[in-house]
Amino acid sequence: MQQRRLGLGVVVLFLVAVGLTACAGFGTGEQESGPIKVGVLVPLSGPASQGGQQMKNAFELAAEQINASGGVNGQPVELIFEDTGGDPQKGVTAAKKLIEQDQVWGLAGIFTSGVALAVSPVAMEAQKPLVVTVAAAPAVTDQVKEDPETFKYLFRTGAHVVHFAQNTEPFADIVGASTYYYIAQDAIWAKGLGKALEARLTRKGVQKVGETFVPRGTEEFAAPIADIQSKNPDLVIAALVSAEGVPFAKQYYDAQVPIPFIATAGVLTFEENVRGMGEKADYVNFFAWSWDIPVTEKTQPFYKAFREKYGFAPSGYEDVRSYDGLHVMVEALKQAGNTDPDTWAEAMQTLRYTGVAGVYEFDESHQAKWGEGLLTGLLGQWRGGQAVIFWPEAVATGRFEQAAWWKQ
């Protein structure tokens, strides 16, 4: 009897699901007359969920402001969010749902490179513009380099791993390092960053003495910290941008490791995470892609609007690049004058747009360019729950300091 009831329940659930799916298929309108629908892929579950939520917030803020100022040539922008969970397979399913069922005009977002690599062929096959706003692996834009015709609708406003390496490099000079240790999450982008760092730092005479990759969301760091201590480098570079970044920093502090470490953006640039860590965040160094300082005329108004809307600060990367990403996407649409993806892609190639993080121009691989006058980064240090930006000097809010327990 109980089994029959369970069976009946499953049938009813199935019918409800089928009904809801069918209903959701109705009401999809033409892009030329209705809103411009943009499907946004973000991880709202799993260890990268905080970054995903930050992206979602930034996209919503951008859409709200774009629509308040007249939309895209009179058409409002409508965002449809899907959770990827940071999983490529889930990302593909979500992208297909957005393309086939929601009939979006284009796609944006994506936190993890695995998802970006899995989703981009799906988007290109459906001739949908795709703006990757966070995922940083070289392989993402290498697709454009290798097959420009197939991947002509793929652009990235997020940083390339080489840009991460370029941003980290000045810190090696500041601490006078001749050796470094690289600890990173076991992810495509972090492996790419490891190679980029090695190439750049070796040229400067800074040798790698050790390397460890840990699964995303790792909580225990006893072994890597013991390894760091036994290798005794001058500098530790930590590409632990998701949930694992905070336990690492806490345990690194607990072990009183006498070596400065720098976090490559991510979870340790979130003000609320760091304040929750108390004194364990003191002397954590980081590089960030933007901060609440006048990088462009749009930077501080964005930080103010974000804080007012959500009650906490942006991290400066996933949110800023996503906010700028939607603006870039829309700006190219305005310049194109219609929603034809080919015209849009041509407009993107010649676009010069001043956003929150800097000025966006795209190279031949459709990567937002890095450099003076375009997009750069800055270096900071947490002390007493406050971020002190110490590089570049032009925007510095204070000086870099040595912690008492670091070796001199």
């Binding site: 109980q2 089994q3 369970l6 709202l44 579950s45 799993g46 260890p47 969920s49 905080q50 939520q53 076991d186 460890t212 990759f213 840990v214 699964p215 969301g217 790792t218 909580e219 225990e220 006893a222 072994a223 890597p224 013991a226 390894d227 036994s230 949930a243 905070v246 336990p247 806490k250 345990q251 607990d254 072990a255 009183q256 979870v267 979130f270 609320e272 995470n273 929750g276 860590m277 108390g278 004194e279 364990k280 906490f312």
Partner: protein, 290 residues
């Protein structure tokens, strides 16, 4: 490779292993007494961490109060879960698996709704390191380990010497005989499930300040707990403790000597090896068909 480094790694492994054992022992208890697999165990652990966060950070109360409050709150959640979800299908193993799996997702969504998905930090309950020769031991880990040992000791004493404990053992050995002796088996199951959940909450309280609190944080401990329970012998509390300590040491040693990427592989390789040699796990006994 120095002896002090090896000793340091061993101590780190044992300290963390004790906490892994505490996280797994609730799962083992439920399996041993009720013969069901609770896939929501990780989610109950996660709820425990969120309750501690609320009591310490949002209400500003001391950590011991938060830990007890979290254990009580998750005990109640466990009792309700047993009554509404597990009991109606308890004799259908697959349905228990499916429904507790679904419950885990429901708890995760509830956590997102109540606390939002943003990462949370629980402040440390004790600061500083203890020096043992050249070895630096984080006092927080040491205290967590000692509290875990006390809790496990209380659990063992409770099961061995109290009337309730004896009843639990009776039900675990022979449910029908327990019924004939007038033991209220269903009520005992409800209590056991709640107790298992409360132990998960205790582990979350002790580990939470070392890690980070977020809705998906329960899945890793769940997988680890399953491995520990199987390794120790299904339902064997002694086996769970030994397997937890072993797991902690294997993780740290593999991370240091091989690669951090290989810790899960090494853990499961040892699990497969032990199951191959001893199918019932370290302390398990063959189960007779009833």
């Amino acid at each position: 490779m120095t002896a002090s480094l090896l000793f340091g790694l061993l101590v780190s492994g044992l300290l963390i292993g004790g906490l892994y054992a505490l996280a797994a022992i609730g799962l083992s208890l439920i399996m041993g007494v009720m013969r069901v697999v609770n896939v929501a165990h990780g989610a109950l652990y996660m709820l425990g961490a969120f309750f501690v966060y609320t009591v310490t950070v949002q209400w500003g109360l001391p950590f011991p109060v938060a830990m007890v409050a979290a254990m009580v709150a998750v005990f109640i959640v466990g009792v309700v879960t047993e009554r509404l979800i597990v009991r109606p299908v308890r004799h259908e193993e697959v349905n228990v698996l499916i429904l507790t799996f679904a419950a885990a997702f429901v708890f995760e969504e509830v956590a997102k709704f109540v606390w939002n998905p943003r990462y949370k930090n629980i402040p440390p309950y004790i600061q500083g390191n203890l020096s043992v020769g050249a070895l630096q031991v984080d006092q927080q880990r040491l205290v967590a380990f000692l509290v875990a040992v006390v809790l496990i000791g209380v659990l063992f004493a409770g099961i061995r010497y109290t009337r309730m404990g004896k009843a639990i053992r009776m039900v675990a050995q022979d449910e029908e005989a327990a019924l004939l002796l007038g033991i209220h088996v269903e009520r005992l199951h409800m209590f056991t499930f709640g107790l298992g959940a409360a132990l998960a909450a205790a582990a979350a309280a002790l580990l939470g300040p070392l890690y980070l609190v977020y809705p998906a944080m329960g899945w890793n401990p769940l997988l680890r707990s399953f491995a520990i329970v199987i390794l120790g012998g299904m339902g064997s509390l002694e086996g769970t403790i030994l397997a937890g300590l072993l797991m902690g040491v294997i993780e740290v040693m593999t991370g240091y000597f091989i690669s951090d990427r290989m810790t899960t592989v090494a853990t499961f390789a040892v699990l497969v090896l032990i199951i191959f040699v001893r199918p019932t796990g370290l302390f398990g006994h063959p189960v007779e068909e009833r």
